[in-house]
Symmetry: C2
Subunit: 235 residues, 2 copies
DNA sequence: TACCATAGTGTCGATAATACACTTAGAAAG
DNA sequence: CTTTCTAAGTGTATTATCGACACTATGGTA
């Protein structure tokens, strides 16, 4: 049995609880995926939800997001950025809870999703086949998706969804999935190679049943150099 | 004398306090202004700070921002948008306080800034002549300024800084101040009028010592119609 | 009536965006 | 080993957009 909680932290005015929730995006051959957790506790027990949890009073928001992500999904060292803070009154049935939402980008190949430590399920869902989500997490997910769509065009964050070395075909496919429109192969290559922010490697892809494509990597240094010179990334 | 506070709100775990802070921008003939409040209470007593305050447990974040703005500056019914949530550990010397920052845009002509209700000063400061700010408010202000610069180019929010009816000269000046670069008059007019989101009125400006310019207004309906058709505003 | 300040207007060249189809390489199947 | 299949890789011509640039018109002030 659980002990009765000792409510020893006392304040003059009532306080909302503060949580973080993280929308983790990944990409596979078909489309965008998002990581969800099956809740093992009430409320919304058994329903799918975004990974997240309470912010400790002695940690920053970013720290809380990374900690929860590690605890619940095993993911670490990934791209993570604050999205928006959701503070509607009835968003949690228990009490007033304000949540700082984050979104994260991972490449599926580099990061295994481990069974979470508290025995609840973690799984990838296609954005087109989402289950019903707990709390206001559908709203948060939608906001994250819109942010990603908007930001990927003028900031080179999309590379976070790809392995370190990728083909131009993979890069184009990533943009096509996120922007939800087809791009012309020749124009796309012309543009990307013209920006000089991807570096050709001397490797080609392996284990494909057709001509193997050359592998490239994102050139962070070149990008930063160009940025300082007023260069403006845009797809 | 103030009574000793009765700390009757009790929780199992310690909780951060939650505040809102608002960066209010306005525009005059010269440059961008921001509204600051002179603090009447400790900490940072007598220093300038952003308007803001504690979020009540029974109000949304947006509501808290609008309420604080009204209480401290008299401003209401203005453009207000969430900016970012700041949660560094030592950002407030008293205790752990997380703040949800907002930014707001007002036109100086339409809104008088009243003396604030709790007798502290409220005043406009030019962005180039800022005093030292309390807490991490300089960081928040910088983030708001960057957001405004980034967003004004592809969302028609800049009109919020102008009176309902404005000249194309005022519109261009607004963009020049925010983007911090000069724009070509003919190209600017061509672009703005070509987008068909400003509506010509039959009025001209008054009390100017030279040829009076035609007044225009932002056409919200036309903008929404165009947006749905995939039109992409950009200056 | 002259002067001053800003309003208002068009063209041309450069650059960027778009549309579009075939050859090549390499693995797999027969 | 020859054919087949799949995706890689490549260039040009057209169109649209961007950016540079200078003079006349209007109305108030001196």
């Amino acid at each position: 049995m659980r002990n009765k909680p000792t409510k020893k932290y006392q304040y003059e005015y009532p306080r909302a609880a503060l949580t973080v929730d993280i929308v983790v995006f990944a990409l596979d051959e078909e489309d965008l995926k998002v990581m969800l957790i099956e809740r093992s506790l009430k409320p919304y027990q058994g329903q799918w939800a975004l990974p997240g949890g309470f912010v400790h009073v002695d940690e920053t928001l970013d720290h809380a997001a990374r900690r929860e992500l590690l605890e619940e999904t095993g993911l670490k060292d990934i791209f993570l950025e604050q999205l928006f803070t959701f503070g509607e009154l009835e968003r949690d049935p228990r009490e007033r809870i304000v949540t700082v939402a984050y979104y994260a980008l991972v490449n599926l190949e580099g990061h295994d999703v481990q069974a979470s430590t508290d025995a609840s399920n973690a799984a990838w869902f296609s954005l087109s086949e989402l289950p019903e989500l707990a709390f206001d997490h559908a709203t948060i997910l939608k906001a994250a998706h819109e942010r990603l769509r908007g930001k990927v065009r003028y900031q080179p964050i999309g590379f976070e969804l790809l392995p370190e070395k990728f083909t131009l075909r993979q890069l184009q496919h990533m943009y096509e999935v996120i922007l939800d429109r087809e791009l012309d192969k020749r124009n796309f290559r012309k543009k990307v190679l013209g920006m000089e922010i991807v570096q050709e490697t001397d490797e080609i892809e392996k284990d494909v049943a057709h001509r193997a494509a050359r592998l490239y990597r994102f050139d962070q240094k070149a990008y930063q150099r160009l940025s300082k010179q007023g260069f403006h990334f845009e797809i």
